[in-house]
């Protein structure tokens, strides 16, 4: 429940005000039947006069008005509280996650963080939006209504208790039976989505294998399961309505029956007055009883809903309570150099797992081009991820411009580095917004220059809108835009993590040529698969299973490094080398 620490002072004041308005709402709502009761008594005893009727009637209307106003105020307070709470909580979680390092993000997984920031927060809003008010109002209403009828005849109370028990039990039992099935339905629906996604994304493969029937059987089995579970839950929960109507109507009959018995039991001199009073009580009692039943029904619904909210709250708290493992240093150094040095670096993603990188040492001087090559899984990406400090090393040091990356203020460290990623990720928005991403100034000439070097020849309009997930661009197009974005940043270090594999040989060459010509003083690190891409690098680092097995120029490595030679020969023949 510590999630409520996130309520602001205003929220807390509003909660108190809300409790007051709820109390007044309940008070006036329960006051009304008293006047009907008086009216009924006086009518039945034959003592009523017009003045009294009008008097009581106006009081009744007054109560109705007061109760309405109170409940309007309650809704207003609840709206402010729940929306404000949701806004602040969402913002808190988002801010927290934005500051997570990779270690934390991997711990939760991106998908889970997204659901926690969206669905789970929406869930807590429901708790406050409806739950909070119900949690206050339902018990208050139930208790006060019970108090109101407690001095009435005990037989009425017995009848009421048994009907309330039957209804509440029905709700709880059916919910308990149906609830697990709802979870199953949720899972089956996810699975149905998956199969459909499979059918669409794999349409070529499925047709190539003539496997339409195979897929159909899978789909139909799932479809049938969904159908059966829906039908089951529908038939179980369908019991609630009829039981409720019989309960409420039956209770009315029972109250009248008991009332008639009570009336018959008065035979003395005050007979008429006593009997008339009974009718009055009976009318009031019927109204109160409805309030009691409603309160209990709402309460049981709220309590059934609570466990789900509790799960969401727990998930949100986990995000907020997570310690951030990577703390920014405070060195704000801006001297542009571009030196990178790895000193005896060991690294693993998880303390329990084997090292991904082992004993890595090398140095890149200002203006040099360093290439990293190796089989898939040899640790190339892990290595370059250490430079902008996405992760911390287990052992050794990564130095940029002679200073340990852990001593830098993260912002100024990352200002020194431009990164183009293996998976080109663009944002929803215009081309120019994407190219100038993260920069404060927008220089159209520089944008055009960056686009030109990255061979982005398919965009005519800098305001061209890129869709979410850049679905309106092809893989190669995305990659070129992501290169242009890295170039626009003009940092002292440029890192290309397997960025060139998606380009054809010629474009690859032209882009590298452009970079060489325009970024002479920039230190460039290229991770690549193709020998052609890296052949001319000042230094080539050959990685194999997380270790450096060769370091040097192309010609040297061909002579000395077996792994490099093997890679090279898999692509080119002896003469070409």
């Amino acid at each position: 429940m510590k999630i409520f620490k996130n309520l602001t002072r205003r929220d807390v004041i509003f909660i108190f005000l809300m409790i007051i308005t709820i109390l007044s709402d309940v008070y006036f709502e329960l006051k009304m039947p008293e006047f009907t009761s008086k009216l009924a008594t006086s009518v039945q005893s034959g003592t009523a006069i017009m003045q009294e009727v009008l008097d009581n009637g106006l009081k009744m209307l007054g109560c109705a008005l007061c109760s309405t106003l109170s409940s309007v105020l309650t809704f207003i307070f609840v709206s402010f509280i729940s929306n404000n709470f949701e806004k602040n909580l969402r913002s808190k979680v988002f801010n927290k996650v934005v500051n997570y390092s990779d270690t934390e993000i991997n711990k939760f997984s991106v998908a889970s963080l997204i659901t926690r920031t969206t669905n789970d927060i929406a869930m807590t809003n429901m708790l406050l939006g409806m739950g909070l008010q119900l949690l206050v109002k339902a018990p208050v209403m139930a208790v006060s209504a019970i108090l109101k009828i407690s001095n009435a005849d005990i037989k009425w109370t017995y009848a009421t208790i048994s009907v309330v028990a039957v209804i509440v039990l029905t709700i709880i039992i059916t919910a308990l039976i149906a609830m697990p099935r709802f979870n199953i339905i949720q899972k089956l629906t996810d699975k149905l989505n998956n199969i459909t996604r499979e059918n669409i994304s794999g349409v070529r493969v499925i047709r190539a294998f003539n496997a339409q029937n195979y897929q159909r059987n899978k789909f139909e089995k799932n479809n049938d399961d969904i159908y059966k579970n829906h039908v089951f839950t529908g038939k179980v929960t369908g019991l609630i309505m009829p039981v409720m109507t019989i309960g409420i109507n039956g209770l009315t009959l029972a109250i009248y029956f008991i009332g008639a018995m009570i009336i018959n039991s008065y035979t003395g001199t005050n007979m008429i007055l006593e009997r008339a009073a009974t009718i009055g009580n009976m009318t009031a009692f019927t109204s109160y009883v409805m309030q009691v039943i409603m309160s209990f029904m709402l309460l049981s619904a709220t309590f059934l809903f609570m466990p789900r909210v509790a799960v969401s709250i727990k998930r949100i708290n986990e995000v907020l309570d997570q310690d951030i493992s990577l703390n920014s240093g405070d060195l704000k150094e801006n001297g542009v150099k571009g030196e990178i040095e790895f000193k005896d670096v060991d690294f693993s993603y998880n303390a329990k797992e084997n090292d991904v990188l082992n004993d890595i040492s090398f140095k890149a001087n200002k203006g040099e081009t360093i290439a990293i090559i190796g089989a898939t899984g040899s640790g190339k990406t892990s290595l370059v991820n250490l430079i902008p400090r996405f992760y911390d090393v287990n052992k050794g040091k990564v130095l940029v411009d002679g200073i340990d990356v852990r001593d830098y203020d993260l912002v100024s460290l990352r200002d020194k580095i431009s990164f183009a990623f293996q998976k080109a990720a663009l944002f929803k928005g215009s081309v120019i917004d994407n190219i100038t991403y993260g920069s404060e100034d927008v220089d159209v000439d520089r944008v055009n220059k960056a686009l030109d070097i990255a061979k982005v020849d398919f965009i005519d309009d800098l305001n061209f809108e890129i869709a979410q997930g850049a679905t309106n661009l092809s893989g190669g197009q995305k990659q070129r835009l992501s290169i242009a974005r890295a170039l626009y940043k003009q940092s002292e270090i440029l890192i290309f993590d397997d960025t060139f594999s998606a380009l054809d040989y010629k474009t690859d060459m032209l882009v590298r040529k452009g970079i060489k010509e325009n970024f002479e003083d920039t230190t460039v690190i290229i991770v690549a698969q193709r020998i052609g891409t890296i052949k001319n690098a000042d230094k080539i680092i050959v990685l194999d299973e997380g270790r450096i097995v060769g370091i040097g120029k192309h010609e040297e490595l061909l002579k000395d490094c077996a792994v490099y030679k093997e890679i090279a020969l898999s692509q080119l023949n002896k003469e070409e080398l």
Binding site: V43, S71, V72, V78, K87, F94, V97, I263, R275, S474
Partner: protein
């Protein structure tokens, strides 16, 4: 408690689509009998609601009559009415449950049938359809739209009819008892209803805006979290937070407005109920006092019940209209899919190729994905059995298009493609596809065991065969290291590398073992050394098979028998690697780019 339905509020300006509704009604024809039962039940179940209050009034009068009577209440008369009422309540409840029972069967049956029909439709749609529609959109038609239809259709029809009957029934009952009180009850209910209606119409605008805002902010969250490396390395955190805050504030404002309006409208609806209650009491009692002979205490009680009943159908009408609007919109989206033109039926095509040799020839093939834009302009070429054919060229040159045509994923505009001299146009699509093994760059694996993925739709595949193939593609060791071997479930918990996925799809194709082979960038996500191992295995298998290979890593295709260089849909060069290099044309330039010294 049903799961929290998160149905999207309708666009406030949405119009009813009558055409889709008619189609929907036609679709549910097989369910006509249960629907009639539902309608009958829902009509019958109104009886207790309509005549209940008047019987209660009778009951009340029996009791009040006993006040001044020394004998007290006439218990015999009381019990008679009581038992009568109790029995219609019980029968009513049973009918309600029967209706519920049939409704669930029907609505879920409709949902199931819709999904089956949609799924079957998907297998008959040409590939073109999938190029122009996003996955997410098609999936949401399968789930959200079908759910909307199945949930609203049968229940809405029942509710609507029930509401009409109650509406009419209550008016008749009320007026037959007392005109003055009837007019008062109706007036009070109408005041509340009109207020609620105007307010909720206003609120709907904000609910719709809120939903749009929510979609935007969730999109932003997804983007920032997924691309967190980009955000971090470009120091984009502040910008991300700024955008977030702006969207969050907007969401807050619209959500607050929507809630506030709804917050005002609900209590006022309740107020109109209380107003009716008070008015009925005041006027009823004063009528009794003035000695009106058709007014008594029982009537007052029954009117308070009728007044409450009367506001129900009014609310239901509005709700039903919204539901029908939603169902018509969902129906439109579902029928859009169902009415898409299908691929041509091929039952009369008899030609089959047994013992395929593998001669393939293209004659003057012309094709375009859309009619106005031709991509392949008269492609001609013939390939002998057993040849290894490579297709290279820049992106957009039409490489994948050629193999798509070969497998009849698309139908050519003119010309012909034949295998062993037989026009593939004259064969059934599935018979053509049976001739090919195809491996694509996008590795497609499904959630299931490794065995299911490998054996995919083939019969009688022994473990020996699996072992042999997995060894050939270099997977044997990896699969052996898994505790459950071939029965390991492929899901997110088993983090396969792109290369391993590719090896699996290659193994799958090898198991199918067809006479012709297509590799569309099949090995581009595998590093070149692993590629070499796979290629060796492939070579073993491709011996004597005609194969078509697309790759932009030229090392992959250097040893092909024929290399076709494509640009803008035309073959601009053909020959083997050496011949093309000597030509010093497009291919030579492309190939030599990798040796160019960039300095």
């Amino acid at each position: 408690m049903p799961p929290m339905g998160r149905r999207l509020p309708n666009d406030p300006d949405a119009k009813m689509d009558v055409g889709s509704l008619i189609k929907l009604l036609r679709f549910v024809k097989p369910f006509i009998v249960p629907i009639i039962i539902i309608v009958l039940c829902s009509l019958l179940s109104t009886i207790p609601s309509i005549i209940g209050p008047s019987k209660i009034s009778e009951l009340m009068n029996i009791i009040t009559a006993g006040v001044k009577n020394v004998e007290g209440v006439d218990m015999n008369a009381f019990m008679k009415v009581c038992i009568y009422l109790l029995s219609i309540y019980v029968i009513g409840a049973l009918i309600t449950y029967l209706q519920q029972w049939v409704s669930v069967d029907t609505s879920q049956g409709i949902g199931k049938l819709l999904r089956t029909t949609l799924n079957d439709k998907i297998t008959k749609l040409p590939l073109k359809y999938f190029d122009s529609n996003t996955k997410g959109d098609i999936i949401s038609r399968f789930t959200n739209d079908v759910d909307t239809i199945s949930q609203t259709l049968s229940s809405t029809i029942a509710t609507l009819l029930r509401s009409i009957v109650i509406f009419v029934g209550v008016i008749v009952m009320m007026f037959s008892v007392n005109v003055t009180l009837s007019l008062i009850s109706i007036a009070c209910s109408l005041v509340g209803f009109i207020m609620m209606f105007t307010l909720s119409k206003k609120a709907r605008k904000y609910f719709y805006k809120r939903q749009t805002n929510l979609g935007e902010i969730n999109g932003h969250i997804e983007e920032v979290f997924t691309n967190h490396h980009v955000v971090k390395s470009f120091n984009g955190e502040d910008e991300a937070i700024d955008i977030f805050n702006k969207k969050n504030e907007e969401l807050y404002n619209n959500s607050l407005k929507a809630n506030l309006i709804m917050g005002v409208s609900r209590p006022f609806m309740a107020f109109s109920g209380n107003l009716a209650y008070a008015a009925i009491f005041i006027i009823g009692v004063s009528m009794i006092l003035s000695g009106s002979n058709n007014m008594n205490y029982g009537t007052i009680i029954s009117f308070t019940m009728y007044a409450r009943l009367f506001s129900q159908p009014l609310g239901n009408f509005a709700q039903s209209m919204t539901s029908i609007l939603q169902a018509s919109a969902a129906g439109k989206r579902v029928f859009e899919v169902l009415e898409e033109s299908e691929m041509e039926e091929e039952n009369n095509k008899q030609i089959v190729i047994d013992n395929c040799k593998g001669d393939v020839s293209f004659k003057d093939v012309r094709f375009g994905y859309s009619e106005d834009k031709e991509i392949i302009h008269g492609f001609t070429g013939s390939f002998k059995a057993g040849q290894k054919v490579a297709i290279v060229g820049p992106t957009g040159a039409g490489k994948t298009t050629i193999v798509n045509l070969l497998m009849r994923f698309y139908e050519i505009n003119s010309g012909s493609i034949s295998i062993d001299g037989k026009n593939i146009q004259d064969m059934k699509r599935e018979n053509v596809r049976d001739l090919f093994d195809m491996i694509l760059q996008d590795t497609w694996l499904f959630e299931g065991t490794i065995r299911e993925n490998l054996v995919y739709n083939q019969e009688n595949v022994s473990d020996e065969k699996l072992n042999e193939v997995c060894k050939a593609v270099g997977l044997r060791h990896f699969i052996k290291s898994l505790p459950k071997g071939y029965d390991t479930l492929l899901d997110d918990s088993l983090a396969l590398s792109e290369g391993q996925k590719q090896q699996l799809t290659i193994a799958r194709a090898m198991i199918k073992n067809s006479p012709l082979l297509i590799l569309d960038e099949a090995t581009s996500s595998v590093d070149t050394r692993t590629e070499l191992i796979i290629q060796k295995a492939m070579d073993e298998l491709t011996k004597g098979r005609t194969s078509f290979i697309i790759a932009h890593r030229l090392s992959t295709i250097k040893n092909a028998d024929i290399i076709m260089v494509l640009n803008n849909g035309d073959i601009i060069e053909t020959g083997n690697h050496e011949e093309l290099l000597e030509k010093k044309g497009f291919y030579a330039e492309l190939y030599n780019s990798q040796f160019e010294v960039v300095a």
